[in-house]
């Protein structure tokens, strides 16, 4: 059966979203299917897949967007629009164009009577106003539950507007617990409404599809493109700042690679099936070892192994003195890491570059693709606490109070209140990836460890919303196994 875009429903990956315990036990028991599906009886907010669909595409230059929902579901468009605008500045543009987002603004009446006419009107408005080459529709829980026939509306309006392509994305939040499903929903729709309708075209021998999630900063994107350029590979970087033209070039690439482990992985498999385009699925290029692996993975497919090895040696040598200095400053520090699946595991290996020791980690999913990463981290760091959670700050602060790491890497909002030095490998506006940017990242981590004044001081006054008794409880007590 064709993949439906819901990551936890894939049979082959055995995805788990709710689990907590020892990393050694996880790596031992997962292959025996002994971790088990579970749910949290008490939880904090997840991120829905619609957010990821929106974030993946909102910077498409020649597109307009229709969010078929009440106003609230356009909330993260504002965040993505900010990234888009900042990205424009970093690219030297002073125009600061907004993403063109039309919300159907479903109200009580629409929920009862359906809002298909309104959707059609929004699509026509988007065309009249901006003549976009492509219009993406994002569905919502509300439009999904009342079962608006979004595909038919899209088809009908597209027939009136032959100079644009309307791409409906089925990203209803309630359908998936894993927000990365929203990336897949976007790629599935692009395949169905753009790629399937056209001939693949001739292969361009040195063209590599590079799929990057929207949380990759502009400087990181430029660094990735530069690194590939150094070894003679042209990047078709998508979908951040992409265009319909770049999407149409996807089938012409000689190979594909992704910057994040949970981004475009299913899409790349599909491209291999359809067009025989091989792909590399390694790890996010953060840290020397991860960058080596990522670059080698891509170079191998493109026949650029020698160039890659020479380049890796060159870059590593160039940053060696700086790395030695960073290692001196960070060696032996214990660290707790949280973030998206791609970044947490990359960061887990990264901290070893600096001689730091991983003692705890939160990651949104555990599946077959992750097993090798956990094994690798176990080999480097030994046993650590693994919390399979999409942040769940209540579990995070409970673990932090118990583990008392020297450094916290992740969204700092809650850990900072405990007075821990905090830093992040996710920085949408700053460098983190590749060899050169690693120095910046290392300096950032070291600076926070050496100068934790802000957090130390704020912790004296900041509050967290939990009773003191919670910190004495089992952090995983609300994870209930499914019968």
């Amino acid at each position: 059966m064709a993949y439906n875009g819901i990551r936890e429903q894939r049979q082959d990956t055995e995805t788990i979203n709710d689990w907590g315990g020892s990393s050694l036990a996880a790596a031992r028991d997962f292959p025996q299917k002994c971790l088990g599906r579970a749910d949290r009886s008490f939880s904090q907010g997840l991120q829905c897949q619609q957010i990821n669909s929106v974030m993946a595409l909102l910077s498409m230059e020649d597109a307009a967007f229709v969010v078929h929902s009440p106003l609230g579901c356009a909330g993260c468009c504002s965040m993505a629009n900010d990234w888009y605008r900042v990205g424009q500045i970093y690219r030297g543009s002073m125009a600061l164009k907004n993403a063109r987002v039309l919300v159907t603004n479903m109200d009580e009446r629409d929920v009862v009577l359906g809002a298909e006419q309104k959707l059609a009107k929004a699509l026509r408005l988007a065309w009249e106003r901006y003549k976009p080459k492509v219009i993406f529709i994002f569905t919502s829980c509300a439009s999904g539950i009342i079962a608006d026939d979004v595909d038919s509306v899209a088809q009908e309006v597209n027939a009136e507007l032959p100079d644009t392509v309307i791409v409906p994305i089925h990203c209803e939040g309630f359908k998936s617990k894993v927000c990365a499903s929203g990336y897949d929903a976007a790629f599935l729709a692009i395949t169905k409404y753009v790629l399937e309708k056209e001939d693949a075209g001739e292969t361009i021998p040195n063209l590599l599809n590079v799929f990057g999630p929207p949380t990759v900063s502009t400087v990181d994107q430029m660094e990735v493109e530069r690194m590939l350029g150094e070894i003679g590979i042209e990047a078709n970087y998508l979908p951040f700042y992409a265009s319909l033209e770049k999407i149409r070039r996807i089938p012409r690439a000689a190979a594909s690679s992704a910057i994040c482990k949970v981004f475009a992985d299913e899409f790349m498999k599909d491209l291999e099936r359809r067009y025989n385009i091989p792909y590399s699925h390694t790890i996010m290029p953060i840290g020397t070892r991860n960058t080596d692996r990522w670059l080698r993975g891509a170079a191998k497919l493109m026949g650029k192994e020698q160039e890659a090895e020479a380049y890796i040696a060159r870059e590593r040598e160039a940053i060696a003195p700086l790395m030695a200095d960073l290692r001196r400053r960070l060696e032996g520090k214990t660290v707790f890491i949280t973030g998206g699946t791609g970044r947490t595991f990359a960061a887990g290996a990264l901290v070893d570059d600096f001689g730091m020791k991983l003692i705890g980690m939160q990651t949104p999913t555990y599946d077959k693709n992750i097993q090798e990463d956990v094994e690798r981290l176990n080999a480097i760091h030994g046993d650590f606490v693994l919390d399979v959670a999409n942040m769940m700050p209540f579990e995070q602060v409970n673990l932090l109070r118990k583990l008392k790491p020297d450094v916290f890497i992740g969204v700092p909002i809650w850990a900072a209140r405990l007075g821990l030095p905090t830093t992040h490998v996710l920085d949408i506006k700053r460098p983190t990836m590749g060899y050169r940017n690693l120095v910046y990242l290392g300096q950032k981590i070291a600076a926070q460890v050496e100068n934790p004044g802000y957090n130390k001081r704020i912790a004296q006054y900041a509050t967290l919303p939990y009773k003191e008794s919670w910190y004495d409880s089992d952090p995983f007590k609300y994870i209930v196994k499914e019968g």
Partner: protein
């Protein structure tokens, strides 16, 4: 019927209710909603007001049932029940409000019954039905304020020097906390005590005591028309947070008249005026005459247009009110406030929250040189070589802690922002 909106200047009912309740110290909203509502409403409301976040619960720290397909099909009441047990076990708050999202609203979960069980056990917990499709941020604010009124406010004997200051929407007004701070300073100068609920480390006790107030002061053109907190039922409405010497004096006089403090008011107004014009004198001729346009929520547009026209002798070209104003009488009230200027002529007044229509309105006034608006209008300003001041919601480019656009002090701050050496 609601309109299609491009780059909306607002979030949904759930977003507004959450921003309101989470701005009260030690109050925790609990979402019975889909898995994205915590992120969407935080990013779309609090976070794009002043970039600040509610300190207690925001983004993925908001407790949430994360309703998935199973709940859509079989109902979510059981999940909510188990969730509340955990929530009340580990969370520390003076009041909890279960807020529903679209999913719970459409499938019709009986949230009130589930929550009543815990309230009967003695927990301070209530449910407010806030599915996003009920409306925009302001609908959420009114639902939340209504829930506070119904469930928390106690009947207490009137305290003649106590007033409630209402109508400043937390986060949705980027200057909300600074505005509270400055207006409270002015009201305290009249010898009044002020319930704001949201500032000055106030909390649930202030909400409970709101019934003892002698007067509700609502600084908004159309919010809270049918809601009274003060036990006396007395209300004074002002169209926005007063900005500048003239409107601030008018505001203080009106309050003073209703509370019998005219003498104190006149003395204080004189003191503030002297202070204000001491500064203004040092800035004469620093900035020459400009035509300007304003885009923002009506409650912010009104004071800005009035101040720049009445007290800075700039000429308003167009005023775009981006909030959805349903009632004709409210539109008339807003129009009057924007038209009734001391000397200057009135701007074109437009009611729309749609970015395309906003840009069309701005484009009708090519002689305007200064644009005061939200981050959404930054694009128009740059592509039309206009000076731009970001002072309205949504704002994703400027951190605002307690800067205010209130009173005499706020006017000085604002003039510093409007100044340009170009």
């Amino acid at each position: 019927m609601s309109e299609i909106l491009e780059n909306p200047h607002g979030n949904c009912a759930l977003g507004g209710a959450n921003a309101t309740l989470s701005a009260i110290r030690r109050v925790i909203p609990l979402y019975h909603s889909g898995p994205g509502c915590c992120m969407q409403t935080t990013a779309g409301e609090a976070s794009q007001g002043s970039l600040r976040l509610p300190p207690y619960t925001a983004y993925t720290a908001i407790p949430c049932t994360n309703m998935l397909e199973r709940e859509v099909v079989f109902g979510g009441e059981r999940k909510l029940d188990a969730f509340l047990q955990g929530a009340l076990e580990i969370l520390d708050a003076d009041a909890f409000f279960v807020l529903t999202g679209c999913t719970a609203g459409i499938i019709g979960d009986d949230v009130q019954s589930v929550v009543a069980k815990y309230r009967e056990q003695g927990h301070p917990i209530w449910a407010v039905e806030t599915p996003g499709f009920l409306g925009e941020s302001y609908r959420g604010y009114e639902l939340a304020m209504n829930a506070l009124r119904q469930n928390l406010v106690e009947e207490r004997p009137t305290e003649p020097d106590l007033v409630n200051l209402l109508g400043i929407v937390p986060y949705h007004d980027p200057y909300w906390e600074g505005n509270f701070e400055e207006l409270v300073r002015l009201l305290e100068a009249l010898g009044l005590r002020v319930n704001t609920f949201f500032s000055h480390f106030q909390g649930v006790e202030n909400v409970k005591n709101a019934g003892a107030a002698a007067l509700d002061i609502v600084v908004h053109p159309w919010l809270l028309k049918s809601l009274r907190y003060a036990g006396t039922g007395e209300v004074l409405r002002f169209p926005g947070v007063p900005l500048g010497a003239a409107d601030s004096a008018a505001f203080l006089r009106q309050v003073a008249e209703r509370t019998g403090r005219l003498q104190q008011a006149e003395a204080w107004i004189e003191k503030e005026n002297r202070w204000f014009y001491h500064y203004l004198e040092t800035g004469i001729a620093l900035q020459s005459w400009r035509k300007f346009s304003v885009v923002g929520e009506s409650t912010n547009v009104i004071p800005i247009v009035r101040f720049l026209s009445n007290e800075y002798s700039f000429s308003p070209e167009v005023a775009v009110c981006t909030d959805v104003v349903f009632r004709q009488e409210d539109k008339a009230y807003i129009t009057k406030a924007l038209t009734d200027l001391d000397y200057g002529s009135a701007p074109e007044i437009v009611f729309t929250g749609d970015q395309w229509e906003i840009n069309q309105a701005l484009a009708r006034h090519p002689e305007s040189h200064v644009l005061i608006g939200s981050t959404n209008e930054h694009e128009f300003a740059m592509s039309h070589m206009m000076q731009f001041v970001c002072a309205c919601y949504p704002n994703t480019e400027r951190l605002i802690y307690n800067r205010s656009l209130a009173g005499w002090r706020g006017a000085l701050t604002f003039m510093e922002d409007v100044y340009s050496n170009l």
